[in-house]
Assembly symmetry: C2
Homo-oligomer: 434 residues x 2
């Protein structure tokens, strides 16, 4: 891994908005599903997933879900259950209540907080299945109280209708209420606009390939969508107290995700930079996914040597990484100075995979520097809020003139008159009495 | 206003994504401001706002702000101050704290909640100035603790550099920290990417014309943006206890905004539908903005007669209106059955303008049916959250195997090894001791 002085480092970031052809293809798929419903879904499933289904075969049956439990190891069920329990427990701490403010004049103001009614979660198909992502997308919705949580995932290619049993078990444990075997842009269109078989949702979450991402962009507005994730990132901020082998292993756990993943060490210690760099080389060669990790480390990895902890912290804040590990003598002393980071891991035992799978906080975290203004997925992503205004007669009589002054200043006489007509009528019918 | 039976009503909704030419123009402006900075800003300000500025003239001086107070009526300052105080007080009730969960094994999980660092607020120029929108955009940011709140607004056309003094006073009262006289897509580009004179922000809020809206879409990702508002909407849900004249006045206060605004009565009472419809006609003719209100009422207005309160409520939930007034005998009894509405006004004295200007809740509210999944502007729009994970050695030794099982199941051996290397090393250097 290359070692660079702080002043020479600039993080490469890439965004993928698709080619014009991909954009056009997605628009057409969405248009057709919107127009033709199930018929289009089935046609695209045959075309893209080599699977011939009937409309009644779209929905995964309860018996298939139960059968999935027989196909997976018991140790997996136990593991996913403990993870689900911890994730649920963390997200439960974010619960918020509707509130109201009862005022002395009899007015009541408030905010009503309610779960979304129906949420769709996309789960990619293909060889690699990520049950942990199912937990991280579904559990916050379920804890928020969303009554209908719909999962869509493509059928396994090659003519079988099957869905990865680990995904099915994770879905059942997380609290998914309906599952459909459909993927790609066509699944997103079905969730957004509905078909005879799939009722439309309020929000669509979950990762997918470029077609899925473009389709989410395309339907945004008709439904809400989560943010579209870029390649994964880790920054390890370390001083010379850090264990080089741990730092290297954690950097590699990020680099193995994706050739475009970024793993960066920021340190005040030139010796540590050297040691971590050497450890990265050593451990990298032993990884099954070494080709991916190598590409990531070579293109996006670096060990940055800062001249002071102040400079190191300011680099971290500029990078605004998705994951930040602080491996310094006193990590809590640095925490308060971190302005921008999606998830912050403190101390030698808080390895990033602890958070990816198990600790409780969500692993869906803003990438690409957007931690500057975005947040990890949490309950707030699955609620909606309504303001409530009950104004008393006393309050209206007191404030009416002021409201009319402001409305007239903006040239909105109709607004003023909506107040005026009440002031006039109420003074005719008994004046200031309540 | 036309009276329609429930089963025949369907709300027209329109979205404006601009023409291809407008989109291209905006892309070019953003590109040029990004590349040339202030030079492009000044050029576009001369071209679009007929105002020749120098870079040092972009920023509005403190003395100009003070002078604005001399240009407005004292009654306006008093009114805007009371409104600001109420809005501030309501938003303060939304304050949330960072929290942590200290676990028996010594681990600490938490969520750190912090304000955004720098926010940009767009304020449209033109003849109509809306000081109330300045309050509604700026106060939540200020209460959330955002230290830098930047306002941009175009200079008055016709060669003067002046800015509407009502806007300036509202900005000062709301807590804006910097003001620049620049508007249009060029202002949005400057806020997103920064120029020598204007430092970039984390989020851009505020309404604007189609060029501003397209520019916000264009820069989204580099910065966050608020949602893009559609035409304003009101639904009045009423039974025969409602005062027809009040309902009509409130419907018209919405209709006068915009020819595309929508004002709809939903009632169980055919007699009230008739009375409100007649009152709308009568009051409409007296309004200064009667042409706009007429166009809105004719195209988007209706009095819908439902066969039961259940049906009426279900229509409201389907419409998911920006503003909902409930004028029934027992409005609180209906509140809990309203699933989708941005702001809910209860009883005869809670006229919508009370909320537009004064009561406290925000008047920036989801339009176009998006109350199904979006919320009025509040403090949540101006914060970012970071997850915090401090895992103890004890916890890692306990959970390490489970985490490795989950990582290996997903084929991410590098993740497993980041845990394994710690388990091995810690057992060599003293096993289970903390």
């Amino acid at each position: 891994m290359r070692i660079v002085p702080a002043e020479e480092f600039d993080l490469k970031r890439e965004s993928d908005y698709g080619t014009p052809e991909q954009n056009e293809a997605v628009k057409e798929i969405v248009r057709n599903v919107r127009r033709e419903g199930d018929a289009a879904l089935l046609r695209y499933t045959e075309q893209f997933d080599n699977t011939k289904l009937t409309a009644s075969g779209l929905r995964v049956q309860h018996s298939e879900l139960m059968a999935a439990y027989d196909e997976v190891e018991e140790s997996f069920v136990t593991a996913i259950r403990s993870a689900a329990e911890r994730i649920r427990s963390y997200h439960q701490k974010q619960k918020r209540s509707s509130w109201m403010d009862v005022q002395p004049d009899g007015s009541i103001l408030g905010q009503i907080i309610r779960p979304l009614q129906r949420v769709g979660v996309y789960v990619p198909g293909g060889k690699a299945a990520y049950p942990s992502s199912v937990l991280m997308n579904v559990i916050p919705a379920q804890v928020a109280g969303v009554p209908e949580i719909v999962m869509v995932t493509p059928p396994a290619t090659g003519g079988t209708e099957g869905i990865n049993p680990y995904i099915l078990v994770a879905a059942a444990e997380a609290g998914v209420t309906e599952i459909y075997r459909v993927g790609g842009a066509q699944a997103i269109a079905a969730l957004a606009y509905g078909t005879a078989s799939i009722a439309p949702v309020d929000k669509i979450c979950g990762p997918g390939n470029i077609y899925v991402a473009l389709a989410k962009r395309e339907v945004y507005g008709a439904v809400n969508i989560d943010s579209i994730a870029g390649p994964s990132e880790i920054v390890v901020l370390a001083d010379d107290s850090a264990e080089a082998a741990y730092a290297a292993a954690d950097l590699l756990s990020q680099a193995e995700h994706d050739e475009m993943a970024s793993a960066v060490l920021v340190t005040t210690s030139p010796a540590l930079a050297k040691a971590v760099s050497a450890e990265v080389e050593r451990q990298l060669e032993l990884l099954p996914r070494r080709d991916i990790a190598r590409a990531s480390v070579d293109s996006y990895g670096a060990a940055i040597v800062a001249r002071s902890m102040d400079e190191a912290i300011s680099i971290v804040n500029k990078l605004a990484p998705e994951h930040l590990e602080i491996m310094t003598e006193d990590p809590m002393g640095i925490l308060g100075r971190i302005e921008n980071a999606g998830a912050i891991f403190l101390g030698p035992y808080s390895s990033e995979p602890v958070g990816d799978y198990f600790a409780g906080p969500n692993h869906i975290i803003p990438t690409n520097g957007t931690a500057r203004f975005s947040s990890p997925v949490d309950l707030d992503d699955f609620i909606k809020k309504s303001s409530m205004i009950y104004y008393s007669k006393e309050a209206l009589l007191r404030d009416g003139e002021t409201i009319m002054e402001l409305a007239r200043r903006e040239g909105l006489e109709g607004h003023a008159r909506a107040i005026e007509i009440r002031l006039e009528q109420e003074s005719q019918t008994g004046g200031n009495s309540k």
